[in-house]
Subunit: 372 residues, 2 copies
């Protein structure tokens, strides 16, 4: 519990539940997510065991605190399948067969496809409850794993009418033991939700970024923070993401059809020089941004941006934040926008609208170049 | 110069050029950009005068340090047209007629359309040189203006074969006086470049965000940082952006046609369950992200992300950055990802790959929950 208790910084809610009675738990797949689950369980005093198709990978994970890769002591009460998306169905089926009293869950990004595979096998699925932690990293493998990867993150628990309620409850306990926040959803809702809030944006970012490859001459020298934000996620592993998107092909495809119709509407409006129609499409986008839940799920806070010039060296941000803290202003979000031509940068601090003027004045009094 | 010299934090390069001999400069349009230009010029000791179709707006700008809204002392050497996109052509023509010895530039986001308007008038354009500072804000109007808005930002100087070289030189001096970095481009290259790095990403972000409006039920509860990044720019003023996009309709339209073809390819690949084709499209996106110039224009630094749990209160970021600074690690970029369910958050620090392990250990030793 050392790590969880430190991370909460005095906030007891953030600590993962201590759950020794939940185990033994077997984690199948010792990549980033699987190894992190085993480490989080170990942190919560749950006896955890880990396996991988590559025994050496499981051994590395185990040596980093991701449970034991030795023989399982007792019968697992829970099996967590954390394999690549393409293998989920087969591995879940195998776990149900190998451990006839265990609850089985998984951590896959897509739920319908493996479920269809399982249903086609005609087996009893009452002990299988889907799961999907909304956490990850651009790194992969057990060396990137961490016991606190899921702390405070959302973790979808995807149950069905044919799930044993006791099995659902055991998966909820797993999620809480890992420090995450449960969001319950149906299979169909989950896959449609992630298609909209994750897979479609990923595909769109990738296709937009793809337009940069052929950019002539020095056109990219005009790149700014907006372009970097829109395209950032497209740097994620294409090998993993193509499995995810392909496994959710129907939901993603339906949204891509919608998006193509919107692009057609934009093309038509631009060709017709129909500016009100262009504006209407852009207004819908602004409305969509404000539909994203506010921080902490509460009503969106009216924010203003304070821009500060900083030298690009260790300590500059520390001084800036120390000065912002002395002004007693909470920084809600921030962006760093480096100057491509020399070693200095701009930091944009998002603060409550009614605090921006005060913060700007306080920073200026402390010799920062700051403006709203 | 107080603001510029403070902002540079000892970096003399970042200071704007002192240019008293450049003036008098007349700025037409007292919105965010126009007022900021006049403030930056005043900072550089250039005599500046400001006008607006609404005299009260010009007066507000003037009262905030954006030059004088009174009678022009002497003959302007330079007129900066900073009106909304739709009025640029007419206002540039008027400035050329009203001030027959002045160089005229503008700050518009699109260059071809106003130029076509001017060329259709059959007037001598040797004194007109286009300009486009790559700076802005989600706020607008003279109250949002700042003398240092352009410090360290790129400012495209868009010259043509029929430009008087002395006129180009005067605009370059203007840019430097405002603290910005000159990038010279042709009219066509500029409009194609901004279509690709700014207008297309904006439209794509808006259309993707538009898909969120109709999201059923609690689907948006799975929203994460990726979605926020992809859609952030779509919150910008639709009224302004529709003028910008419409004024660059041909270049944006051509890229939207390309994007639609890519979306068709993605839809087809998903329907055919052709995973290698999906992967190839995603790989092109990853290549596009890495084509964006690295910070400081140098080769891209290999970065790793260190994730840290923080309480959401004043001072937490200050303590974090003080500790990072004590570890002597430079934070290249960062994101704050709040937990929607309670008042705590995660900060992702991007640092040089070979410093991430060290920083993680140092932060953990200082009782942060930190992991790579």
């Amino acid at each position: 519990m050392t790590s969880a208790s430190a991370g909460a910084d005095g906030d007891a809610d953030a600590a993962a539940t201590i759950e020794p009675s939940l185990g033994p738990v077997l984690v199948v797949g010792a990549g980033l997510i699987g190894a992190s689950v085993a480490m989080a369980l170990s942190r919560a005093a749950v006896p955890a065991f880990i396996r991988d198709v590559d025994a050496a990978v499981a051994h590395v994970a185990s040596s980093r605190g991701a449970g034991s890769d030795g023989p399982i002591a007792g019968t697992p009460s829970l099996v967590v399948v954390a394999t690549p998306p393409d293998q989920l169905g087969a591995e879940i089926a195998r776990a149900l067969a190998d451990f006839p009293t265990a609850v089985v869950t998984d951590v896959g990004s897509v739920k319908t496809k493996p479920l269809e595979y399982l249903q086609s096998g005609g087996i009893d699925l009452s002990r299988y409850v889907g799961g999907h932690p909304m956490a990850g990293s651009e790194r992969s493998g057990p060396l990137a794993a961490a016991a606190d990867l899921f702390d405070g993150r959302t973790w979808a628990v995807v149950d069905r009418e044919d799930c044993d309620p006791a099995a659902v409850h055991r998966v909820v306990r797993l999620v809480r033991a890992c420090g995450a926040v449960v969001v319950r959803m149906t299979t169909r809702d989950h896959d449609q939700a992630v298609a909209r809030v994750s897979h479609l944006p990923h595909v769109v970012a990738a296709l937009t970024a793809g337009r940069l490859v052929e950019a002539p001459g020095d056109h990219l020298s005009l790149s700014g923070q907006g372009l970097r934000d829109v395209t950032r996620v497209a740097a994620g592993d294409p090998g993993l993401w193509c499995q995810i998107v392909a496994a959710n092909a129907d939901a993603v495809g339906a949204l891509l059809h919608e998006l193509r119709a919107e692009i057609d509407a934009m093309i038509g409006s631009l060709e017709a020089r129909d500016v009100p129609a262009v504006e209407q499409l852009l207004r819908a986008g602004a409305a969509g941004v404000s539909a994203i839940p506010g921080k902490h799920g509460g009503p969106s806070l009216a924010l203003a941006t304070v821009t500060v010039a900083i030298p690009d060296e260790p300590g500059a941000l520390a001084r800036l934040f120390a000065d912002a803290a002395e002004a007693n202003v909470n920084v809600e979000d921030l962006r760093i926008d480096h100057d491509p031509a020399r070693r200095s940068g701009l930091v944009e601090l998002d603060v409550a609208d009614d605090r921006a003027e005060w913060l700007t004045a306080q920073l200026q009094a402390r010799h920062w170049t700051a403006h709203r």
